[in-house]
């Protein structure tokens, strides 16, 4: 990994001597801490571990989420009002996660009684069944001697008076929301049988200003919009970010030297390097699933093709060679194939090739065009921008079958997958004003909502589940 930076150092004296300010970069935001598991004393968990699979059956599940209890109300850097207030915030975060997912009917801590610390592992069943709650989420917050905090998370079936799940998380105070997301993931996964996704981050482009003078900045946030940070200052246009699979880096396009070029931004150090030392414009950065390779597109004398380069540096390999525009690309989760877009047939269509560039074949033949294909992390679907009059987000199988259009905006583009392959985010641009916002939709197409961002937004890129 280090080799690449060394290589870039040799090649790019200009890039390395420039100050962060010259590169339009803000202060480094740091990578954040770990979530350590906490052993929870297990009751007999019982045999009830079935999974509910029919959506109609679980979409209305009532879930009560009272404030997490503190053993003693103590000061904590995570909340100015102490650990008891923090416990209430944790329950609020979980409630918002489950509500925004559209599949549950959670009731949060602000309209529920507060369980005591002793009630957490032995719920007062009567008080919850009387409220019509089918599921109950309880938990605790305690300070640890090492300065970190421990957050316990329990999921109970109220009717059966049974504990379905329990887990504990030890985090730095600054990372308390991650524990709330891990708890949300535990509940979501248990009740849906799907993989988790809440403990993840999103990189995107924050947009301000009038349509002909848009300021476009690189920004990041948690999956629920919290912990928002601007990474660039806005003097240079930034576009199309992608988180590395380990969240240590972000690749994105910047005009910081006046030309569109892909940079690899290191989150810990707040420094960046060109993806490849070359005078040609580089576009459309993508990571391989294992984080070892980078795909980028490069225009040479006006002709754009797709290239692959190891993260550790070295020779770029050209994967496409048609006179048309070949751009983008998204690896299958096993890394063996790449879906990309090309106008070699006369209009934008989606193609699949082997990871070495061989066996290129067109997969889309329906009316309209196929752009910005993104392979689902589950491997079973490809999301893309379908252009047929308006721009809509659609999905299909990797062989180009079973087209399903999920959205109906005037201009919905650039889908990105949730880590579990069940939800898609994209950006929607308004006609005339050019203002854009982030939206998400699930694979049923029914649960669509706008993601709140501090300013207008585009180019969402959802990272994987955090370790």
């Amino acid at each position: 990994m280090k080799n690449m930076w060394l290589l870039a150092l040799f090649a790019g004296a200009l890039a390395t001597t420039a100050t962060a300010q010259n590169q339009d970069l803000g202060e480094p935001v740091g990578e954040g801490g770990e979530v350590e598991g906490l052993a929870i004393e297990e009751d007999d968990d019982g045999p009830l571990r079935g999974t509910v699979t029919d959506e109609s059956d679980w979409s209305d599940i009532g879930v009560a989420i009272p404030a997490f209890a503190a053993d003693r109300d103590q000061p904590t850097p995570a909340n100015a009002d102490g650990t008891a207030a923090l416990g209430r915030e944790v329950a609020r975060v979980i409630t918002a996660n489950l509500r925004n997912n559209g599949l549950f009917k959670p009731v949060g801590p602000d309209s529920l009684p507060q369980p005591g610390f002793a009630d957490i592992r032995a719920p007062r069943w009567g008080s919850w069944s009387g409220r019509g709650a089918e599921m109950l989420v309880q938990g605790f917050v305690t300070n640890r001697p090492d300065g970190r905090i421990a957050i316990g998370c329990y999921l109970y079936d109220v009717a059966l008076q049974d504990r379905l799940e329990s887990a504990g998380y030890v985090v730095r105070p600054a990372d308390w929301r991650r524990a709330a997301h891990k708890c949300s993931d535990l509940i979501y996964a248990r009740l849906t049988g799907e993989s988790p996704f809440f403990d993840s981050r999103i990189a995107y482009i924050a947009e301000t200003g009038p349509k002909d003078k848009r300021v476009k900045r690189l920004a990041v946030m948690d999956s629920d919009g919290a912990n928002h940070r601007f990474l660039t200052l806005g003097s240079a246009t930034a576009l199309t970010p992608r988180y590395s699979p380990d969240y240590s880096k972000i690749m994105y396009l910047s005009y910081v030297d006046g030309n569109p070029r892909i940079y690899v931004y290191d989150i810990g150090s707040g420094k960046q390097q060109l993806v490849t030392e070359n005078s040609n414009p580089t576009l459309a950065p993508r990571w391989s699933p294992d984080g070892r390779h980078i795909l980028y597109s490069m225009a040479v004398a006006g002709n754009t093709d797709i290239y692959r380069v190891p993260v550790t540096g070295g020779e770029s390999v050209r994967l496409t060679s048609t006179p048309g525009i070949d751009i983008g690309g998204s690896y299958s989760p096993d890394g063996s194939r790449i879906v990309f877009e090309s106008d070699r047939s006369g209009s934008q269509q989606c193609y699949v090739m082997d990871a070495d560039g061989s066996n290129q074949r067109r997969i889309t033949f329906f009316g309209g065009r196929c752009a910005t294909p993104e392979w689902s992390p589950r491997g079973d679907q490809i999301a893309f921008t379908r252009i047929a009059g308006d721009f809509n987000v659609a999905v299909m199988t990797p062989s180009g079958r079973n087209l399903r259009v999920l959205t109906n905006g005037w201009q919905d583009e650039a889908p990105t997958w949730a880590p579990n392959g069940r939800i898609i985010q994209f950006f929607r641009t308004e006609r005339n004003t050019g203002r854009s916002n982030l939206w998400q939709v699930d694979l049923t197409g029914r649960n669509e909502r706008r993601l709140p961002t501090p300013v207008d937004a585009s180019d969402p890129a959802w990272g994987p589940i955090r370790k």
Binding site: L239, G258, G302, N303, T304, P323, G324, A371, G434
Partner: protein, 172 residues
Amino acid sequence: MNSMKTSLILVVSATALAACAKKPPEELPPAPVTTPAPAPAPAPTAASGPTVGSQQHFEQAVGGSTVIYFDTDRFNIDSADAAALQAQAQYFARYPELTFTVEGHADERGTREYNLALGERRANSAKNYLVSLGVASNRIRTVSYGKERPVALASTEAAWAQNRRAASIIIN
């Protein structure tokens, strides 16, 4: 090695350009204009007019033809574009000390990354034509802004037509 690759690509893209042209015979670039004998140094004009090397001077000299326009998803040089580029080439032949940028742009009705590539293709299309008219390629820088810098702000066919453009900008 690299330059071999580059020239190969140039040949390929030139072929592609020719293949895409609507009316091949008329659209072949005319023979390079004879470069006028190195500037009989432009008579120092009255202090009032725009100075040589300014964008304003360039615009006046070429009768506003600093921008050429493209059809949706196209990047070929049509006859109107050719006339504008000829005027530009004559200007740059007259002022050989000037260098300039060709900015390629797309309308908003395309996806962001594709439009960056399309703008690049348009800028290079204009550049190649100017080179065919005798302008030295090292005087022409190209840059694509895709759909990020529209000049017409409505979401109408007329506005999009104005935004699908390659604009020549003097570098001072």
